[in-house]
Symmetry: C2
Subunit: 269 residues, 2 copies
Amino acid sequence: MPRQVTAFSNDTVKRLRSLRDKKARREEGLFLAEGLRIIAEARDSGRLPEILAFSAQGAAHPLAAEIIAAAEAAGADAIEVPPELLGKMSGKDNPQMLLGAFRQRETGLSAIDRAASPLWIVAQALRDPGNIGTILRTGDAVGAGGLILLDESADPFSVEAVRASMGAIFTQAVATARWEEFLPWLRAGPGQLVGTSLKTDTDYLDAEYSQPCFLLIGNESQGLPADYEAACDLLVKIPMAGRADSLNAAVAAAVMAFHVRASWNEARR
Amino acid sequence: MPRQVTAFSNDTVKRLRSLRDKKARREEGLFLAEGLRIIAEARDSGRLPEILAFSAQGAAHPLAAEIIAAAEAAGADAIEVPPELLGKMSGKDNPQMLLGAFRQRETGLSAIDRAASPLWIVAQALRDPGNIGTILRTGDAVGAGGLILLDESADPFSVEAVRASMGAIFTQAVATARWEEFLPWLRAGPGQLVGTSLKTDTDYLDAEYSQPCFLLIGNESQGLPADYEAACDLLVKIPMAGRADSLNAAVAAAVMAFHVRASWNEARR
């Protein structure tokens, strides 16, 4: 049976709260997911939380009750807390009824099995965790294998990224690597590296994409460094009709990924 | 010459600060834009701020100096403030050097000239101002005419929406309307209303899009109401390869808008 906890100073409460902080996430190897929808997504992907907090109202939901029971059977630390305490833990005005801490998976390049999918997204030095989560969600939808984050990047296990991923943090592979590690790894196997750039005349609609395709997306404000572009097998541009010269990074990733998938569908017809 | 202001209690400072609040924006008919990049975008689109605050460092930038002079010549209230005061006004740790208040344009459906563009984005009850700004930015890039916000929506003139728009708030038409007003307006002229839905077998890649095309995007959590779907001329689905059943609203708008544009390019070849 879950323990009932009412004190903000309780150790499990403090531990969950600490996971809003990147340093604690790294030390513990855990991350937070909030809400029944995402936690059910995790369970459906074979993942259960190691720590779980919920309100009485949350525990009354049949699906939540099932997940709480399964997590406890697997040894999770489960606590029932008053709604206002859950609110303080999640830092939101409308707290979710359920809060879980999950084990982070391996995020080395060894986590990437390039044979597992024809399409991978690679993003360089993304600053906005919301963009990372949104790209994971897009990757899940388009059938990508996962996301490789190059260089100094926001944390894919931050609360904002996990929330924006809508559960895709559990279904997409995630790796973090320096460019200097990534490029030799990429060249040690098959793979077309495709960069989006303003410095090419090749329209993204006219290019041919081969599998596995690695779509390289630049940082939010700078785009791709010149030497990264030079290392690409293919540079394409998304023509801009208006005054702006770029798209939001998550939008650029989505437009490219959906077009690449569509081009392969087209070829099969 | 701009006045030098150091007091947080100064009336112009207070007025600018008040524009972070939706009620004040509506009453004043003004909105905030932060940073030289967006304000220069406004100027290039023929728009100057009516109120302007900047740091000495900001005023030293040649482009900023030009904009400050032009705004003052047009009667703007321009004040130079210490960097820490600018920080307090923008509510950011790394404040921009320049902060402007611009007049909101008309946002009735009369603001929409459907002959001005083959493509329009229509979004229903968006909750996230970042999504609204990102859709405006996408609209600018893809050559859409503007964005029509249906029903209760986040404020397109909020600081977050303006920031995410990267200046497209100045180049895209923006209208807000109830569905009950929008539908008769749409039917009073040419226009194909295209909804994305899970309740159709028509792949978005197989459909034909006619001009002017109005892409209808549903709310972040609920998607489109059934009667909105029923009123569409065309329903299409974006096939989901993974576990999730939807895309981020701004991503869905971008995937659809870029595909529709591409399908017209294809037809011309």
